[in-house]
């Protein structure tokens, strides 16, 4: 029987990486994800794995790059300012088509910001972040258990598509303690990695590169990458719809704010307002079609995010051409979104758009 234990998000994701067969963690301390580095420093030696506290996030992501090149599963974690430093390496991982998992436990920004929970790195995560035309698969868990499951999924997707995968959580998710099941939960889907640099015994030498100078070669490489991204869009869009079928007001939120929205939804449903929730689980690829269908009968959409209006851009793109008004409750600055704020925003939407009780 599966064993449940109480763990905070940061520790749970660390153990999940080990359960997924990852034996390489490289990271640099930054709040609010420090539990990952300290957990890994204890745990990796116990499973004959590698833990390196790197000299910087730049070094950490490049250690991940090296481990990925030789075919190993590797993970790093950080929080917003550190993830900014990793963008160079993420671009190289994407360009060289290397699998890797990067966890961003977001904090308030810009600059050094604060250490409060935030979702302000949405653009950075979903638009590529570093230089060049590339995409990173972005998973957005909303509970500690889902965070664990996303770590498993992230390694599998990274290997399958030879692409970096980012798990985008916020400070609440990293720190929050919830019951979680890890051991035996992951059915490993290991890919053969013929492309890896493992020594050229019995084969021609392999090379890993992103410098592609031949005429039209980089164009072709980019076209192949784009083809891969279309495949990912087709196969990997994930989302959850809660009571969206008859919803007149559709809330859209991911991660921690989606939980606040869920609680508000119950409250307003009890008051017989037709409120629904759409939660994107993959932020890239963004589940546009599923959102459009969830919002089919909506008379208003309310986007709730712990940032100043980033998620709302994908919502607008998904609902382009639809007459439905799209409102925003955006709370930037690394401050926790309160239930009362969501309630008030829903009340406002109800009166503004003249929504009636059933």
């Amino acid at each position: 029987m599966a064993k449940k234990s109480l763990m905070c998000g940061n520790e749970a994701l660390s153990e999940a990486a080990i359960e997924a067969g990852c034996r390489c963690y490289f990271g640099y301390p930054i709040t609010p994800q420090n539990e990952v580095t300290s957990y890994m420093s204890r745990r990796m030696p116990e499973v004959n794995g590698q833990f390196v506290q790197s000299e910087s996030e730049l070094a950490a992501i490049n250690m991940v790059f090296g481990a990925a090149v030789v075919g190993a599963r590797a993970i790093t974690s950080s929080s917003s300012p550190g993830i900014s430093l990793m963008q160079e390496g993420i671009s190289y991982l994407a360009g060289c088509e290397l699998p890797a998992v990067i966890v961003n436990i977001m904090r308030g920004g810009p600059g050094l910001g604060n250490i409060g929970p935030s979702q302000a790195d949405y653009f950075q995560a979903t638009r590529g972040g570093g230089h060049g035309d590339y995409r990173t698969i972005v998973l957005a868990p909303s509970s500690v258990q889902e965070l664990v499951d996303h770590v498993f999924l992230a390694f599998d997707l990274a290997d399958k598509y030879r692409n970096p995968v980012m798990i985008l959580g916020d400070g609440v998710l990293g720190q929050m303690v919830e019951p979680v099941e890890i051991a035996g939960r992951h059915v490993a889907r290991r890919q053969a990695k013929e492309w890896a640099l493992t020594g050229c015994r019995g084969r021609a030498p392999n090379k890993v590169r992103s410098l592609i100078l031949g005429e039209n070669e980089l164009l072709e490489h980019n076209r192949r990458l784009q083809e891969k991204y279309r495949q990912i869009e087709e196969g990997e869009m994930r989302s959850e719809a809660v009571e969206a079928g008859d919803a007149e007001l559709l809330l859209v939120a991911y991660g921690t704010p989606s939980r606040t929205c869920r609680a508000a939804l119950r409250e307003f449903r009890q008051r017989r307002y037709r409120v629904g929730l759409f939660r994107p689980v993959t932020l890239w690829p963004f589940p546009s079609a599923a959102l459009a269908s969830a919002a089919k009968d909506a008379r208003a959409v309310l986007v709730v995010e712990m940032s100043a209006g980033q998620l709302i851009e994908d919502v607008r793109l998904s609902l382009a051409g639809r007459a439905v008004p799209i409102d925003l409750l955006g709370k930037p600055g690394g401050e926790v979104l309160q239930g009362a704020e969501v309630d008030a925003a829903i009340e406002k939407a109800i009166s503004m758009h003249g929504l009636k009780r059933r």
Binding site: V52, N62, M63, V69, L197, T198, G202, N206, K207
Partner: protein, 251 residues
């Protein structure tokens, strides 16, 4: 007729893009010869820098990866940690290693990673068109030091071999050059010793090689070689700075 000098198996039979009189070709050949001699071609993985040697994977006949500018020691760290059975070396120039990648080389060395770093020091940025490097000599004219490097505003050349020697994690350090045949042989021996230390699982080895860049020094290849012996070695003294396993190296 029997040929005495053959192409090492570890070197592909292709023309390189290096300028006439460049030292990279010599260093590539030395590495290839040593890899053959140690019998490690099928388990060696190289890390190419950003700079003139970025295309090293087109010349070495074994597995090679690129790394972002300056990050080769971090990439090599990840490789060696993940697969300790591989023989991992980073090949870096002076801009890559001594400017943008200073943090990575110092910390990889200080951790005593079980890797080998070959540092080709020609005192100038080649690939981008001859700009000043951290190892450019005082008075040396480059694209970005048109009046010659001035210590007061641009600092003095960084002596990396001396810098790394002080770390306990570093087991082998030698500075050599490819300016003359006997120096080439010494460089070969240094590369072999540094790689041998890794093969024996004994830790971090570093070889700095003073190398000519006739194109951006604005000198004839032969004069460039002379300049290494007459001027560069004054600033960057040759020698074996450290060998914790003297016996292993002597074999």
């Amino acid at each position: 007729m029997k040929s005495k000098i053959t192409r090492p198996e570890s070197l592909k039979n292709v023309e390189t893009h290096y300028c006439a009189g460049c030292g990279h070709g010599i260093v590539h050949r030395l590495i290839a010869e040593v890899v053959d001699e140690l019998g490690i071609r099928e388990r060696v993985v190289g890390v190419a820098p950003v700079g003139c040697a970025v295309l090293a994977y087109d010349y070495f006949n074994f597995d090679v990866s690129e790394a972002a500018h300056g990050r080769a020691p971090a990439v090599a760290t990840g490789m060696k940690r993940a697969r300790p059975d591989l023989i991992v070396f980073a090949y870096q120039g002076d801009g890559d290693l001594a400017a943008i990648g200073t943090a990575e080389i110092i910390h990889a060395a200080n951790r005593g990673e079980g890797i080998t770093v070959i540092f080709v020091n020609n005192g100038v940025y080649g690939m981008t068109g001859g700009q000043m490097a951290p190892t450019t000599m005082i008075g040396q004219k480059t694209e970005t030091s048109p009046r010659g490097r001035i210590a007061e505003s641009e600092g003095n050349p960084i002596r990396v071999a001396e810098l790394l020697t002080q770390f306990d994690g570093v087991k082998f350090v030698e500075r050599c050059t490819v300016s003359k045949p006997h120096n080439v042989l010494k460089a070969r021996a240094a590369i072999k010793a540094a790689l041998q230390i890794q093969v024996e699982g004994k830790g971090f080895g570093f070889v700095e090689i003073l190398s000519p860049c006739p194109t951006y020094w604005g000198l004839q290849p032969r004069v460039a070689m002379k300049m290494i012996d007459e001027r560069m070695t004054e600033v960057f003294p040759l020698g074996r700075y450290k060998n914790v396993y003297a016996q292993a190296a002597a074999r």
